[in-house]
């Protein structure tokens, strides 16, 4: 009985493995499903690992294509009609800093990190595919003139970027969802991707 069970398990595992190996993963996906996230955790492709984080809502919410930030797990428009303002730090009378400080506030559930603000419109990622976002990140016309080294430094050292891995709790005290890989895995993936020439697949 045990032997039959073992054989059946091995066959099932083989079939499951085959299905994972033969399924084409679309690099043009604009969002990751939960299932794909789990696959990415298993991926040894630095580009996929890096983009799984970059396309997570913790990052995407502040890279909108419009003039209002997004918030929450469902990426709704920021409450109270909060606006981008001229420099991405909000309006003159009410800046991001009116509510967001340099660290998360567990009492109010307001997230915080140094220089909390929206990414410039040239760095809008909302609605773009994975490869389009990667191209945008590498485009010095859009990325603030950053070299690949600058991009690596931004992604692996900037406190606002790394806030995504310690996003705190919301107003109900519920922990915010974190990106699908750890901070260390993300940093390692970014550096490996850059060291390999910062290539974008199929390009």
């Amino acid at each position: 009985m045990n032997k039959q069970y073992l054989v059946a398990s091995l066959i099932a595992a083989f079939i499951l493995g085959m299905s994972f190996n033969t399924k084409e993963y679309s690099i043009e996906e604009s969002a990751f499903s939960e299932k794909e996230d789990k696959r990415l955790l298993l991926s040894d492709n630095p580009f996929d690992t890096m983009m799984a984080v970059i396309m997570h809502k913790r990052c995407m919410n502040c890279h909108p294509s419009g003039d209002q930030p997004k918030q929450g797990e469902d990426s709704h428009l920021h409450y109270f009609d909060v606006q981008r303002g001229e420099d991405g730090h909000g309006l003159a009378g009410y800046t991001c800093g009116s509510c967001h400080q340099d660290s998360n506030n567990d009492f109010s559930g307001v997230p915080g990190a140094p220089h909390w603000h929206l990414a410039p419109k040239s760095m809008a990622w909302e609605g773009l595919s994975k490869n389009e976002i990667a191209r945008s990140i590498l485009d010095t016309e859009k990325n603030g003139g950053r070299s690949v080294e600058d991009i690596v430094k931004h992604l692996t050292e900037d406190a606002l970027v790394l806030w995504a891995f310690e996003p705190g709790v919301d107003a109900e005290g519920t922990p915010r969802e974190k990106p699908p890989v750890s901070k260390d895995a993300f940093i390692e993936a970014v550096k490996a991707w850059a060291a390999d020439g910062a290539k974008i697949p199929n390009q």
């Binding site: 003159a92 009378g93 009410y94 009116s98 400080q101 660290s103 109010s108 307001v110 107003a171």
Partner: protein, 155 residues
């Protein structure tokens, strides 16, 4: 931890948990009750104060960040024995109904007028995003325009 800052022109030191909201220190330690607790989630704006002249929601401002700053609350908005133009305009237009949220609105308006001396209706809508459950927005809009006029006359 000991935290030292200026509040309404007076230097104070408080010994408190640095993570505690500044609103609690203002109300319970310094006994300045004009700043109100509304939602506790930085949503309604009833707790708005000025930190170095900028509007800040004190329920979401950890006291540790007050170190070395200049804090102004509704009690300290007027100076030199002259009523602040926003307070004067609020009285002139008889804005408050229940009044609970009004200190936050007045502080938010005062901060906005520093940056935008003659706000349009749209700029008022965009910058003054506090919440009033009595719905006094219409009278507040009139008062904000009046406050801008008074402030410009004074200057």
């Amino acid at each position: 931890m000991k935290i030292t800052f200026s509040i309404n022109g007076k230097q104070v030191s408080v010994d408190t948990n640095g993570e505690a909201p500044l609103l609690w220190v203002i109300r319970d330690t310094l006994n300045l009750k004009g700043t109100k607790f509304g939602c506790g989630k930085a949503a309604c704006g009833a707790c708005t104060i000025h930190v170095d002249g900028k509007a800040v929601r004190s329920c979401s401002f950890a006291t540790k960040y007050a170190e070395g700053t200049e804090i102004t609350t509704i009690e300290g908005l007027s100076s030199g024995g002259q009523k602040h133009p926003v307070k004067q305009a609020w009285e002139d237009e008889i804005v408050p109904q229940c009044g609970y949220c009004q200190p936050g609105f007045i502080m938010a308006t005062a901060a906005m007028l520093t940056e935008i001396p003659n706000p349009t209706d749209q700029e008022i809508d965009d910058n003054i995003i506090n919440i009033c459950r009595c719905g006094t927005y219409y009278r507040m809009r009139k008062a904000i325009h009046r406050a801008a006029d008074l402030k410009n006359q004074n200057s």
